[in-house]
């Protein structure tokens, strides 16, 4: 139960931090109070936020590397969408991009390298807040520069990169988290309190900052959740208007598009089963339309599983791994922290069995303290 309602904070009656049970329905004002308490004190779904960070950082890194041979053609000064055309379009649309600041090749290569490094650092969660802003700038710049080469996957990655700057996505499974843990275990008890006025104020400022961080994070996660719901909802509802989805032949046409048929033999094989195609058409529309409504119950797990299967199918059959990856990661945001924590524990347990170390707490995730330093001093 504990994080069932995690992602959409405005819903449900959260238990207060001191453990008071939800129990019988409470009067309105109390519910509002409890909602505000969660909103301002507890950043929800921190693991899901970390998964989004790792997922999109990784995806963008892979994308940039995949397009390495084509980087000049897509984003560089040698693109058929010339820097001049890009700037002309920016004047019309109000976009901006760091890539059009200069037309020189070395400048472009520097930007490309910067994008690679930024994606890697974002994925690792190093100084996450600052790097997340940099990542958003990079993704927006590359997106805008090659706007006529983008598809739905790129669009989703851009939106998520923007929203993730609001979240505390570096609190879990990150280099930042490791640093905080080390510092906490190293500097325990050092913060002896001297009751001076300045200390008091600093304390209050810190509380204020914590509140704002939590609110910003929760708002960011709420917007991300709403965004994914809009995505599926509108994708489904627009399909309902199409005749080919209604008569179950839409996927026949999809399977016959030359550009989305990397394995023609496989597409042909799937295309031969018209009943299967019709079932898949109906299931696609049904699941997409249903998505926003199943999120609040147990039904979301089968629906997320169907979606996972669907996206894996799209990735392989249609040769759209980037798009599918972006969608799968977005779906993963709806899994509760409980799920990710048990994943972490599972990893710990297997890790512990391998090394024979005790498996309590988060020990296995923390590398032994000062080991590198010790080795360094003995070497020197």
């Amino acid at each position: 139960m504990e994080t069932e309602q995690a992602l959409v904070p405005h819903r449900g009656v959260p238990r207060t931090p001191d453990g008071a049970d939800a129990g019988p329905p409470r009067p309105g004002p109390e519910r509002v109070g409890a909602f505000l308490a969660v909103l301002t004190e507890r950043p929800v779904s921190l693991y899901a936020a970390a998964v989004l960070r790792i997922g999109y950082g990784f995806l963008y890194l892979v994308f940039l590397l995949r397009e390495f041979p084509h980087r000049d053609e897509i984003w560089g000064p040698g693109s058929p969408w010339t820097p001049e055309l890009a700037r002309q379009l920016f004047d019309q649309t109000g976009w901006a991009s760091i890539l059009t600041l200069s037309d020189s090749r070395p400048y472009f290569e520097t930007c490309y390298a910067l994008a690679l490094v930024t994606s890697a650092l974002f994925l690792l969660g190093w100084r996450t807040r600052a790097v997340s802003v940099l990542f958003a700038v990079v993704v927006a710049s590359f997106h805008a520069r090659a706007i006529f080469m983008t598809d739905g996957g790129d669009n989703l990655i851009l939106l998520m990169a923007l929203y993730l700057t609001l979240t505390a996505c570096g609190r879990r499974w990150s280099l930042d988290a490791r640093r905080t843990r080390r510092r906490a275990s190293a500097g325990k008890g050092e913060s002896g309190s001297t009751d001076s006025g300045a200390d008091d104020l600093r304390h209050q400022l810190a509380t204020s900052r914590r509140t704002l961080t939590a609110v910003l994070h929760n708002c960011g996660m709420f917007v991300i959740a709403a965004q994914v719901c809009f995505l599926y909802g509108s994708a489904g509802l627009y399909k309902v208007q199409g005749g080919s989805w209604g008569n179950g032949t839409a996927l026949h046409y999809v399977l016959n598009l030359d550009l989305f048929r990397p394995w023609p033999e496989l597409s042909l094989l799937a295309d031969e089963h018209d009943v299967l195609i019709a079932v898949a058409c109906y299931l696609t529309v049904l699941v997409q339309v249903a998505f926003p409504f199943v999120l609040f119950g147990r039904l979301k797990y089968p629906v997320l599983t169907v979606l996972l299967g669907m996206h894996l199918g799209i990735a392989v059959l249609m040769g759209l791994p980037l798009f599918s990856g972006a969608m799968i990661i977005a779906d993963a945001a709806f899994l509760p922290d409980r799920f990710y924590r048990s994943l972490g524990r599972l990893r710990q347990r297997t890790g512990a069995e391998e090394t024979g170390a005790p498996s309590d707490g988060e020990r296995a995730l923390v590398p032994p303290q000062s080991a590198p330093a010790g080795r360094g001093s003995s070497a020197g």
Binding site: E2, I74, G78, P80, Y238, G243, W245, T249, H252
Partner: protein, 228 residues
């Protein structure tokens, strides 16, 4: 709520709950509350405006279209009509040929070069096809259609830009694959309908979908510069 307590190790575990410490100054408290309210309001407004942007045109989105567009464009622009309402029911074969006028005045027109064929063979048997194969030509052509419609007279600045873009794509690819000097290029777009399933109905409501192969020749376009 284990989450709340394990939050930010070293600090938040001892959440100061107005026990020993004095309550925060009024100004700080007011500022924090105002910021919280602002965050909430922005999030709600954002979600509402994005909804109006994504939803089909309706009285509400028409009435507030200016506000919606001002907020959503360009950063939050989105379109999730993924293969909807109907997926494309045609394949397009786009080819290009070039024209070169020799110094002595003789005109050489090259044979057709199959641009789509290059894309298709790049996609074939690739686990992760490049955007240059799947999106470049496809989206350039659909944008050209959007801005030009049936004839080839550009009526807007955007239409001219798309024409220039298509010219550049064709010129770059021909130079890359075949080389040679030329001053103009011409495109030919062959639209091949995908055959409907054996005894099934046609491609749904898209009545405009052609039933037979159509060929469209575009005008000769000057290649502006061969600098890059």
């Amino acid at each position: 709520m284990r989450e709340a307590r394990t939050e930010s190790p070293g600090g938040a575990a001892t959440l100061p709950r107005q026990g020993s410490s004095k309550p925060p100054p009024l100004l700080l408290r007011a500022g924090t509350n105002a910021a919280v309210a602002l965050c909430l309001a922005t999030a709600l407004v954002h979600v509402l405006l994005v909804f109006l942007h994504v939803a089909p045109p309706n009285p509400l989105s028409r009435q507030y279209s200016r506000q919606v567009n001002a907020w959503v464009f360009p950063l939050f622009e989105q379109n999730w009509r993924l293969f909807a309402p109907d997926p494309e029911s045609v394949n397009r074969q786009i080819s290009a040929r070039t024209l070169h006028t020799a110094p002595d005045g003789t005109v050489h027109v090259s044979g057709w070069f199959d641009l789509s064929g290059v894309d298709n063979s790049a996609v074939r048997h690739d686990v992760f096809p490049s955007h240059t194969a799947q999106n470049t030509l496809r989206r350039a052509w659909s944008s050209y259609l959007e801005t030009h419609g049936g004839d080839d007279r550009p009526r807007s600045e955007r239409a001219l830009m798309m024409q220039k873009y298509l010219t550049d794509i064709a010129a770059d690819r021909i130079t890359g694959h075949r080389g040679g000097t030329f001053e103009s290029v011409q495109l030919r777009v062959i639209t091949i309908p995908i055959v409907a399933p054996a005894e099934g109905p046609g491609p749904g409501s898209s009545a405009a979908a052609p039933k037979s192969v159509e060929t469209r020749y575009l005008p000769w376009w000057k290649v502006t510069s061969d600098g890059n």
